[in-house]
Structures are given as structure tokens and as C-alpha cells.
């Protein structure tokens, strides 16, 4: 027996309500997960060098992953015009991009050296000195970054003399 329009509308509204409940439950669960993570980060007992190393490793990792996609996209422009590619490379050695290179190199250094530190811990080496080793990672990254800046100086001077 066919339902009357009013009953069909009620049925439809009930289904829409159930769907909305499911969507809001799902969103609430996700949001609580993110809030939980933020709260764990903000909990003072965890705001120590171990946590800082963990967060820095992830932030630099995400930055490098984003850069990987940008880098592949930039190189792929050679397929469309080789002259445009050469012009683009000329732009990429201008001072603003060289400063970006410094940030990139810093992220690569920290992520690599801290990655070695993590791998050593996984092998059971040096876990007792994890905090000291973290500060060692920061100092070594800083020193190598300074060496990189020293090597980059001629290129910066050249870019500067061209008027940037």
C-alpha cells in the first residue's frame, strides 16, 4: 500500500536526521582526536627536549615533503619550454630564493642528523643520553648550516652585484 506524502516526508526527514547524526558524530570524533593531540603537546610534563625533537622532526619532514612536490613540478617545466626553464633557474638564484635554500638546507640537516639519532635509539644505542644528543644535533646542524652559508656567499655576492 503506497504511503501518503506526509508519511514519506517524515520518513525522509528521519533518515536525514540519522545521516546528520552520523556525520556530526564522525566530525566530533576527529576533532576530539586533534584536540587530544594538541592537549598532549601542551601538557608541561611532555614539553621537554624529547617532545621538541619529535615535533621538529615532524614539522621539518612535512616541510621537506611539500618541497619535494614543488621541486618535481619546477623541474618538469623543462618539458614545456627549455628557454623558460633556464629563465626560471635564473630567478631561483636570486636572493629571496637563496634565503629559502638556507631554510631548506637547515631543515634537511636537522631532519637527517636527528633521523640518525632516532635510528641509533631504535638500535638501542645512546638512549640514556637522548637529551644531550638532541642538543648535539642542534649544534651540529647549526655549524653545518654556517658552513653552507660560507659556501653560498659567492653566489649571494654575485646575485647582489646583479641587483638581485
Amino acid at each position: 500500500m503506497p504511503k501518503n506524502p506526509e508519511a514519506m516526508l517524515d520518513d525522509l526527514l528521519e533518515k536525514a536526521q540519522l545521516l546528520l547524526n552520523e556525520v556530526t558524530d564522525w566530525a566530533e570524533k576527529r576533532l576530539l582526536g586533534l584536540l587530544g593531540l594538541a592537549r598532549r603537546f601542551m601538557t608541561p610534563v611532555q614539553r621537554e627536549s624529547g617532545m621538541l625533537a619529535f615535533v621538529l622532526h615532524r614539522v621539518t619532514g612535512l616541510f621537506l615533503l611539500a618541497y619535494l612536490f614543488i621541486h618535481i613540478a619546477t623541474v618538469s617545466t623543462v618539458n614545456f619550454s627549455q628557454r623558460d626553464f633556464d629563465d626560471l633557474m635564473e630567478i631561483l638564484v636570486s636572493p629571496p630564493f637563496l634565503l629559502f635554500d638556507v631554510a631548506l638546507f637547515g631543515a634537511v640537516l636537522f631532519h637527517s642528523i636527528n633521523g640518525i639519532r632516532i635510528t641509533l635509539f631504535d638500535a638501542g644505542v645512546g638512549t640514556r643520553h637522548q637529551k644531550g644528543l638532541f642538543w648535539g644535533v642542534l649544534v651540529l646542524s647549526g655549524l653545518l648550516l654556517m658552513a653552507f652559508l660560507y659556501a653560498l656567499a659567492p653566489l649571494l655576492a654575485k646575485a647582489g652585484s646583479r641587483g638581485g
Binding site: R30, L32, G33, L34, L35, G36, L37, R39, R40, T43, V45, Q46, R58, G61, L62, L64, L65, L68, F69, I72, V75, S76, V78, N79, Q82, F85, D86, M89, E90, L92, V93, D101, F105, V108, S112, G115, I116, T119, D122, A151, L152, P154, L155, K158
Partner: protein
């Protein structure tokens, strides 16, 4: 005592698993096994070598010059550099996307969908590698 499963609980009771029993969150630990963990370490160590060679040859050894299609092609005429560049592309994509997967699994953003997320990241990785080969093509055939 029942282990705490509250996602907001920053300090679980002493003696309980850190953030809930593994079996209590479907898909969380089942899909995050030994192999991705080991491969993340292996690809990381390889990357240190590949990135060092790449940076040195591309950005330091030719520092006074600006990179052009011409001088990049000369480098990519050598089998060693072709192997290094291909290895670098493959390991970087694997290491980056596996790292992203680790973060997603660790943050428990969507634990039930871990297997689907893994498959999606595999597809993104293969597509990115194919596009990277396309990007390098003109340097290799010159």
C-alpha cells in the same frame, strides 16, 4: 583496571598501555607493521648519501654557474648520476609518503581507514615517481 581509551587523557593510569590497548582501536596497529618501520630507517640512511651527492654536484660543484638545461644534461649523461638521481627520487618519495602515513596513523586521525590511506599513498607515490621520470626525460634524451 580498564585501560583508558579517552583520546583527551594525557596521563593514562600507571600500568596501562600508553594510549589504549592496541586491539581496542581497529586498524591502528594491524596495518602499521614492522616493514614500514624498517624501510623508513633504510630509506632514511640511503637518503643521507643520495642527498649529499645531489647537493654537492648540483648546488655546490657548479656554484658559480646558474643551472641550465645544457649543464644539467651533461651531468645526466653519466650512468652513476642517472642511478643517483633515480635512487634519490624513489627513496625521497617513499620516505616522505611513508613518513606522512606514520603521522596519520600516530595521530589517530582516522584509524579505521588505515589500509585505505596506505593504498591511496601508494597510488600517489607511483604517480609522483612517474611524473618525476617525465620531468627528467628531456635531460636524459639530449
Amino acid at each position: 583496571m580498564t585501560p583508558s581509551l579517552d583520546l583527551l587523557d594525557a596521563n593514562p593510569p600507571a600500568g596501562s598501555p600508553a594510549y589504549g590497548a592496541p586491539a581496542a582501536i581497529p586498524g591502528l596497529y594491524r596495518e602499521s607493521g614492522m616493514r614500514p618501520w624498517l624501510m623508513q630507517r633504510v630509506s632514511g640512511v640511503l637518503l643521507v648519501v643520495f642527498v649529499a651527492i645531489h647537493w654537492w654536484t648540483v648546488h655546490y660543484a657548479v656554484l658559480p654557474q646558474v643551472l641550465t638545461v645544457e649543464n644539467i644534461s651533461i651531468r645526466l649523461k653519466t650512468l652513476l648520476f642517472i642511478i643517483v638521481d633515480m635512487g634519490l627520487i624513489g627513496t625521497t618519495i617513499y620516505h616522505g609518503l611513508n613518513g606522512l602515513r606514520n603521522i596519520i596513523v600516530d595521530m589517530r586521525i582516522w584509524p579505521e581507514a588505515t589500509a585505505s590511506i596506505t593504498r591511496t599513498l601508494h597510488a600517489i607515490g607511483i604517480a609522483t615517481f612517474a611524473y618525476a621520470l617525465f620531468a627528467l626525460g628531456p635531460f636524459l634524451v639530449r
